[in-house]
């Protein structure tokens, strides 16, 4: 287990993120119910949500304030943990640090999108993911905590690998969030029920969301590719590939899922070249890609085969690498971690 203070802090941040997510969803519902005109609220909307123009602005401020607190808090925890480790190497010393960096980047992205016209609604999809990431960080801190075996990697490879894995995940999360928003906006645009179209005014356009899916997928693809390649290098370097993934190593579900997720993003970044995968399908692909990626993480955490053959799985990881842990080496077990 990591420092209990870390876990407690993360629990607090998770609660903040969850509240911010609830506020964002409420804002989205308010937009759906009606449109503020001249500072007044149409009857339908005020009845549905009880928000007037001033309240909406207050809600936005509250949402952004909560996200800002989350981002700042997560950044403080990362820096604090880094300081505890003596400021050496990278600020990511364990999976919990990686998740915190992911939360900081994700929260920052949500805050940035609030400044962009019609992109504010993405918060309703991004903030629940932020809450989920922070909750995962709580688990990684309190129950599955193990520091990375950082000494098994060269400095450059290690940095590239970690940036690739977490940056790629951020891209996947961004693409999936945009995909979910795409489906939501499309459903609104196709909705024929009375009043449905009014709230469309404040939402991002499908084209913008598709662009976001493509760009986030492109980012995810490039970084995940880097993460995968460097992960394989690390595995070979540590000479533990067969021990971790089984024989043959490419037959492992983790490998297939990882390659599947990578392929999804390879397709997604090129959807505009193929008419068949545009629009709704691209959105579902983005969501599917994230699900695959989460599947990889889940398998890394839960797949029992290697450790049953004498190697331990002590930490949640991306499944794209396999490194020896300093702590467990002394007892002859292998820790499979992220990066």
């Amino acid at each position: 287990m990591a420092n209990p203070l870390t876990s407690l802090s993360l629990m607090g941040l998770t609660v903040l993120a969850a509240v911010a997510a609830a506020v964002a969803v409420r804002r989205l519902r308010a937009d759906r119910a009606g449109v503020v005109q001249g500072g007044e609220v149409s009857g339908d909307r005020s009845q549905a949500t009880g928000l007037n123009g001033g309240e909406r602005w207050g809600v936005l401020e509250m949402q952004n304030g909560l996200v800002g607190l989350c981002v700042a808090g997560a950044a403080v925890v990362v820096v604090w943990r880094w300081g505890v480790r003596g400021w050496g190497g990278l600020p990511i010393g364990a999976h919990v640090d990686g998740l915190l960096v992911l939360a900081v980047l994700l929260g920052g992205s949500v805050l940035y999108l609030q400044t962009r016209a019609r992109m504010g609604g993405l918060a309703a999809f991004g903030l629940p993911i932020l809450a989920f990431v922070l909750l995962w960080a709580v688990c990684a801190s309190a129950w599955t905590y193990h520091p990375f075996a950082l000494d098994t990697l060269g400095g450059v490879w290690r940095a590239v690998h970690l940036v690739g894995v977490y940056g790629g995940t951020l891209g996947a999360v961004g693409a999936a969030g945009a995909g979910a928003m795409y489906l939501y906006v499309q459903q609104r645009l196709k909705d024929r029920s009375p009043g449905a179209l009014r709230g469309v005014r404040g939402l991002a356009s499908l084209e913008s969301l598709e662009t976001l899916i493509v760009r986030a997928s492109g980012l995810g693809f490039v970084l995940l590719t880097l993460g995968l390649v460097t992960g394989v290098l690390v595995i070979y370097e540590s000479d533990r590939v067969l021990a971790v993934l089984g024989d043959p190593w490419w037959g492992s579900p983790k490998v297939w899922l990882a390659v599947g997720a990578w392929a999804v993003y390879a397709v997604l970044m090129n959807v505009r070249l193929t008419g068949e995968l545009r629009g709704r399908r691209a959105a579902w692909l983005a969501i599917g890609g994230l699900v695959l990626l989460l599947g990889v993480y889940g398998l890394v955490t839960a797949w029992p085969a290697p450790e049953e053959r004498g190697y331990g799985v002590f930490d949640v990881g991306c499944g794209m690498c396999d490194v020896r842990c300093d702590q467990t080496e002394s007892v002859g077990r292998v820790v499979k971690g992220v990066g």
Partner: protein, 523 residues
């Protein structure tokens, strides 16, 4: 007579219902059938059918005590359109007298249109009036009503600035495109038809950047000349052979940037459906121009690009099922109406001014009709009384002549003649003898009597001159008319006044002619 209106419009029914109640133009169209059917059943009634993209309305002038009633009109409407009577009853609007005239004027002024102050509707009303006139179903009442309404349409537009409202539908349409596209730069916008709404949307699209950076703005119309004219009007410089697709890029400097576009021939429709990102439809076609089958076939060639279809035609140009296709976003008049309804709440100064003017003009028109009707009623009454008086005079003369001849052998008559002449009573020089004198005396007596009887209502009507309610009230019910502080007569109950006018006609067996009594409003 009474002026009534039965109709369906975008405020009373959705697109699907309105579509079914459209009375098609042409010799065999529903409009002609409806006219013939009503003419056959109610030959005395005047009728104009107004068909626009947002409305189908029947304007009827009829005697106060004769049909067609609202129920009869609904029945004919249902019969001609094939829609069941209960549906027709549920979605139709009924207006009578001044409210009917007021409604027509609002229509002419574009106040009842989705596009506030649109001018196309005025042309459509003019055409409807001309068609009805040609068919011989317009009489003095509807002539006056429609001429006044058309005049009001021009006048009110000139007085009120509708530019702000005119952009409201187009703005709503652009709002919907912004839900799909980040912007219209680089996008191709196609307008089918050359109506006001279509043009408004194309103008808005150009303002949003359409036709630049690789995009284009195209106008397509069945009449190539009209398409070219529209392209010209929009500043797209549509030039070329009217019967061939215009392939050359036609450019114009627009705010420092080149706008690509022009007119395309109707035969190139499928090609344009592949190119288009936004399709604005507003043709007057009776059948859908874009079908689901066609679009499904073309969507593959569009390589999954989204298409926004803004269908402002009535009947609709695009099959509703097209909206179910993937990556097609179809919006019709109802959807746009939902987004622009705030423009019609009378909030804008222009709309308020126009509404005031329309109310004044409608009241004035109705007053004119009623004034004319009352004048005619009194004239008819005078003629009737004069005829009755003449008959009675003749009868009395005959009796007098017989009685005096029998009693005095004519001597008394000579004395009477001298007495009458000496009394200074004017006697017609042509009248010779006592017979003529008696006839003149009796005729004058009768004339004076009739004049005395009609003096009060005629004088009061002339004094009032304007206000219809005042005239009717004071002509027939002087004791019931209250006066305000400025001495102006206040309106009496219009329905009661109409009843008295109708009663007078019935009692004296007078023919009902234009005008009628007060107003009423029922739906």
């Amino acid at each position: 007579m009474r002026v009534v209106m039965l109709g369906v419009n975008h405020r009373t029914a959705d697109v699907a219902a309105r579509e079914k109640l459209v009375l098609g133009p042409g010799v065999d169209g529903g409009e002609a059938v409806c006219r013939a059917r009503l003419r056959e059943a109610f030959p005395w009634a005047e009728l104009v059918v107004v068909n626009t993209c947002n409305r189908t309305e029947l304007y009827v002038a009829r005697p106060a005590d004769r049909g067609p009633s609202a129920a009869a009109l609904r029945e004919v409407f249902a019969e001609v359109t094939g829609v069941d009577a209960s549906t027709v009853s549920a979605v139709t609007l009924w207006r009578e007298q001044e409210p009917a005239v007021h409604h027509l004027m609002r229509v002419c002024c574009g106040l009842d249109s989705m596009l506030l102050g649109e001018t196309q509707v005025l042309g459509q009303v003019k055409r409807a009036y001309a068609v009805a006139d040609e068919a011989g179903t317009v009489g003095p009442v509807l002539h006056r009503v429609f001429q006044r309404a058309i005049g009001a349409g021009k006048r009110v537009r000139a007085e009120a600035g509708f530019e702000k409202g005119r952009t409201s539908v187009a703005s709503a349409a652009m709002e919907l495109t912004r839900g799909v596209f980040a912007g219209l730069r680089g996008k191709t916008v196609v307008g089918l038809g050359a109506g006001e709404l279509t043009k408004g949307m194309l103008r808005a699209a150009v303002r949003e950047g359409a036709g630049r950076q690789g995009g284009a703005v195209w106008v397509m119309n069945r009449s190539a000349e009209r398409g070219l004219a529209t392209a010209d009007e929009l500043g797209l410089f549509g030039r070329g052979l009217p019967t061939d697709p215009i392939r050359d890029l036609l450019r114009q400097r627009h705010r420092g940037e080149e706008v690509t576009g022009g007119a395309r021939a109707w035969g190139d429709l499928e090609g344009l459906l592949i190119e288009a990102d936004v399709l604005a439809c507003g043709t007057s076609a009776g059948e859908p121009v874009v079908t689901k089958r066609m679009m499904r076939r073309l969507m593959g060639k569009r390589r999954g690009r989204p298409l926004v279809v803004l269908d402002v035609a009535m009947p609709r140009d695009v099959e509703p099922a097209v909206g179910g296709l993937s990556n097609v976003y179809l919006y019709d008049l109802d959807d746009l109406q939902e987004l622009v309804d705030t423009g019609h709440d009378g909030r804008s100064a222009a709309a308020e001014l126009a509404e005031r003017r329309v109310s004044e003009l409608a009241a004035s028109c109705m007053a004119e009709l009623q004034h004319r009707d009352l004048g005619r009623l009194i004239k008819q009454l005078r003629v009737k009384l004069t005829e009755m008086g003449a008959a009675e005079t003749e009868r009395t003369l005959r009796k007098l002549r017989a009685a005096w001849q029998e009693e005095s052998g004519g001597a008394e008559l000579t004395w009477l003649a001298e007495a009458v002449s000496g009394g200074g009573v004017a006697v017609d020089e042509r009248a010779t003898g006592l017979d003529g004198v008696m006839e003149a005396l009796l005729a004058e007596h009768t004339h004076r009597l009739i004049n005395k009887m009609l003096h009060l209502p005629v004088t009061q009507m002339k004094r009032q001159g304007g206000g219809a309610g005042h005239t009717v009230a004071e002509a027939f019910l002087p004791g019931r008319v209250a006066r305000d502080e400025e001495g102006a007569a206040a309106h009496d109950d219009p329905a009661r006044l109409g009843f008295y006018a109708a009663a007078l006609r019935r009692l004296f067996e007078l023919e009902d002619e234009p005008g009628g009594g007060g107003g009423g409003d029922a739906s």
